[in-house]
């Protein structure tokens, strides 16, 4: 099995790492996305992630397959949270293992960039004075 996909109320970097590590791959690159405590100068009190899960898993699968088919990656893990999160919490983990490190870097960055564009997950940011769905409006 080359791909681990997970959408869950909590996710583990170690699990992603354990999944992708293999003695045939010298380089593993992991991206860990955390909740920031400030957005555009305003303090964030909490976040809520909503997900169209069956489609999100399919879009994550497309990303992972592209990494393997086109970007010289051997194993991929993509983990994303749903539900309520707080500053400092880890909300996304992407791990890519490849025989050569440049491939692992390029593929991991491709994965997080593409996830943010295509995977149907929505983030609502809560502030002291209200809440907004991130990136919803121009």
């Amino acid at each position: 099995m080359q791909v681990l996909l997970q959408i869950n109320t909590n996710i583990s970097v170690q699990q992603a790492l354990d999944f992708v590590q293999t003695p045939e791959c010298g380089g593993v690159v992991v991206f860990v996305g955390n909740v920031r405590n400030v957005t555009q100068g305003k303090a964030v009190t909490k976040l809520f992630f909503e997900c169209y899960e069956p489609m999100a898993l399919l879009e994550m699968e497309k990303i992972a397959q592209h990494m393997i088919d086109q970007m010289w990656v051997k194993k991929v893990a993509i983990l994303h949270v749903v539900g309520e999160m707080f500053p400092g919490d880890t909300v996304v983990v992407i791990a890519a293992a490849a025989p050569h490190r440049a491939a692992a870097f390029a593929a991991c960055e491709y994965a997080i960039d593409t996830l943010k564009e295509t995977v149907p997950i929505w983030k609502k940011e809560y502030f002291e004075d209200g809440a907004v769905w991130v990136a919803a409006h121009p």
Binding site: G33, F49, E50, C51, Y52, P54, M55, A56, L58, H80, V91, V92, I112, L115, K116, E117, T118, V119, P120, I121, W122, K123, K124, W133, V134, A135, A136, H137, P138
Partner: protein, 76 residues
Amino acid sequence: MRVLLFGIAKDIAGAPFITAEGVSTVAELKSWLYGRYPALRQLRSLMVAVNKVYAGDEETLKNEDEIAVIPPVSGG
């Protein structure tokens, strides 16, 4: 036909799914949605997924399809 809603689209419609009538393409569904929920016009984009795949405006809709409105995503 039944249409799933997420994120801000769900908030605007006030429900996680709605029933759209008299639409047979993605373009017609979008027009119907914009007419019924004008606040959707303010969004940066509005996509429709048919059976969990992003669909172009020309795509036809059948009653048995799983149809979902996808406002701008913001995962990660």
